[in-house]
């Protein structure tokens, strides 16, 4: 039934569904986010206008991506930012290690960055004797437990207050047990403040890179992003190569739709525009800024006109907040850096559509994701396209692992299905038998067995509609 080496989403999802605490945590959190987002967009026409504008900006940026990246690099370099390119995560990790070593840096304090998660940077640095500490509260919480993010903007959303209270009292030195959110936050703050002051380097992600000015935009709420990028003497930023936009003017609508779609905030507490390291006579800011631009499969996605839409993503997480599957199984079940609907189309394109075939089928194609996506990525259509790629070797396709999800059992199933449905005579015979003897089908038959886990066996009507209309004399021409 499944191709070799295939990672089965079904198994991990089934496991997650058995955890009522996890399901309750996600449902409550996602409901809150849905409500907050909704309140930000009271007028559906205004929302659609902003989505159209944002989609146009991201599409235009991608259309001109090669030249915008060149322009950005030239401008950023002129500003004093040192730009590095990495094709793979390994290369990006090595680059960062090299930069840190050249400065003798032993400790790194991190603002939130999903690209660094993609690179598994923390593990890599730890192996090389460098401490990487997450400073985003959510990231800090999961780092204490050695976990990965379960949501791209709320990484610890799978935990509730009580779980965090227990965890802090066990893992933070001299911490007392409290369920008071302010006290818990203060505990983390105390640890992190000291780390900001001591760290040799800071690392951050990038929300938008502006080509005309060479500016890195960083959206955040906790101030840890600003601390990570301004207090240590060295700032290293990492970003995917799709993040560039042409002008500062492009940023305003994207920023607005990002925060409103993500957390339902009209603006975030902090919005950092990082253009240059500390200048002569300036009293703060890092002495050096490095930017690592990562490909990791993106240019391959870019090459396909339909799949390119995947790269429009501004990482707001609205698709996961609204996804009926994500809401029930949570982020870890996806066994991927990016969970939820966007992860469902991104992960298979990077890791291979064959090994991730089951993930591609972990969707009812309900379309809730596409409906809320601020840049209108047609996620359901792309899922269908990738299911196609997983089972076929279309010439001209560059999709990683194309055709490797094909199994002879599925092949046969569709061949038989087509045979029955393109021959009305045969269809009539089959449905005649189904209506007369459908009840007799054993409950343990394939497909029926899966269907009847939570449902009764479907029983066909006594006569098909085709038969009924004939008997009733409804004209057929």
């Amino acid at each position: 039934m499944h191709a070799e080496n295939e990672i089965l989403f079904r198994d991990s999802a089934a496991k997650a569904l058995l955890d009522p605490q996890l399901r309750a945590n996600f449902r409550r959190a996602m409901d809150g986010l849905i409500t907050k987002r909704k309140a930000q967009f009271p007028d559906p026409r205004d929302l659609q206008d902003l989505r159209d504008l944002s989609t146009a900006i991201r599409s235009r940026s991608l259309l001109n991506l090669p030249s915008l990246l060149e322009q950005f690099e030239a401008q950023a370099t002129r500003n004093g930012i040192q730009v590095h390119w990495a094709e793979t995560c390994d290369q990006a990790n090595e680059l960062i290690l090299g930069i840190l070593r050249s400065k003798g840096a032993k400790t790194l304090v991190k603002g939130k960055s999903m690209v660094s998660e993609e690179m598994h940077l923390n593990d890599f640095l730890e192996k090389h004797g460098i401490e990487a500490l997450e400073s985003d509260l959510g990231e800090y919480i999961i780092q204490l437990d050695g976990e990965t993010p379960s949501h791209i903007i709320m990484p610890a959303i799978h935990k509730n207050k009580d779980q965090i209270a227990r965890q802090f009292s066990q893992k933070i030195k001299d911490a007392k047990y409290t369920e008071d959110v302010d006290e818990l936050t203060a505990m983390a703050r105390k640890v992190l403040r000291q780390k900001f002051l001591e760290a040799d380097a800071g690392l951050s992600g990038v929300n938008f890179a502006v080509a005309e000015t060479g500016t890195l935009c960083l959206v955040e709420n906790e101030g840890n992003g600003r601390m990570s990028t301004h207090v240590p003497p060295l700032h290293i930023a990492v970003m995917g190569l799709e993040k560039v936009v042409a002008t500062l003017e492009d940023v305003a609508p994207l920023y607005s739709i990002l925060t409103r779609s993500a957390t339902g905030q009209p603006v975030t507490t902090y919005f950092n525009l990082i253009t240059a390291p500390r200048g002569a006579g300036e009293k703060d800011g890092p002495q050096e800024i490095h930017l690592v631009i990562l490909d990791n499969g993106r240019s391959n996605i870019y090459a396909d006109p339909q799949l390119q839409a995947t790269l429009r993503c501004i990482r707001c997480g609205a698709c996961m907040n609204h996804c009926p599957v994500y809401t029930r199984v949570g982020g870890h079940a996806y066994e991927a850096v990016y969970p939820g609907p966007i992860g469902k189309i991104l992960t298979p394109q990077v890791e291979g559509v064959g090994v991730r075939h089951d993930l591609l089928h972990g969707s009812s194609l309900c379309g809730a994701c596409g409906e809320v996506c601020p840049v209108q990525i047609p996620i359901p259509e792309i899922l269908v396209r990738l299911r196609r790629e997983a089972t076929h070797q279309d010439p001209g396709s560059q999709v990683v692992g194309k055709g490797t999800g094909r199994t002879s059992s599925e092949d046969w199933a569709w061949r038989l299905w087509a045979m029955a449905n393109k021959r009305p005579g045969l269809y009539r015979i089959i449905t005649w038998f189904a209506t007369r003897f459908g009840k007799a089908l054993p409950a343990g038959a394939p497909l029926i067995k899966d269907w009847t886990r939570t449902r009764t066996k479907p029983v066909p009507a006594h006569r098909t509609l085709n038969e009924r209309v004939r008997a009733k004399g409804v004209p057929h021409v």
Partner: protein, 243 residues
Amino acid sequence: MKEVYFYATCLVDLFFPDAGMAGIELLQAAGVRVIFPEGQTCCGQPAYNCGYWEEARDVARGQIALFPKDIPVILPSGSCAGMMKNHYPELFHGQPEEAQVRAFSSRVFELTQFLVNELDVKLQDLGEPVKVTWHSSCHAVRDLGLVGEPKQLIAQLSKVELAPLTREHECCGFGGTFSVRQPEISGAMSCDKAADAEATGASVVLSTDGGCLLNVNGTLEAKKSPLRVQHIAEFLWERTRAR
């Protein structure tokens, strides 16, 4: 006299023929001549959604050929109508028959859409007072673009009270092959939908789509709930036909 074609869809053909008959009778009652061509099977959506596009095209080609006249094609399903209207042009993109397929797709309507927007039907409620709830099919709303036609029809029925679901627009968990490829997730979604419907206190759940009907009804029955989902066509016809 206005003429239309009626396309059963495989689920209605095999599992909900009463809904199909009711759809035909609603159209006839509105003064429309309904043609039901022989040779109807499936629109091809299951194979299309799984990436088996050649097989889907083979089946679709045969079905399109059943509707040669330039008159509307009415389906008692938002999902299958979405397939024929929006995805046939994608499926046949670059194929020799693309133009012909596009012309066909432009004639496709979901039943309630046609009753409201094209026929502007006026319904007279002849039934007893009843409380119902409404489950919106994902494909009818998000794929086909149904905006409220079914509810407009329900609102015309004077003795019908509509109690909304808490999560009206959340998927019921059917998703075609999703229901058997991912039975655990699908089942969790279906059970939540069934519980939401039960909590409304309604005596019937209405929907436009056979897939949702099959799924939620199977779940309700497994829970030994007396509640059932009924196709909106059947409900409308039962309440408005002269006895």
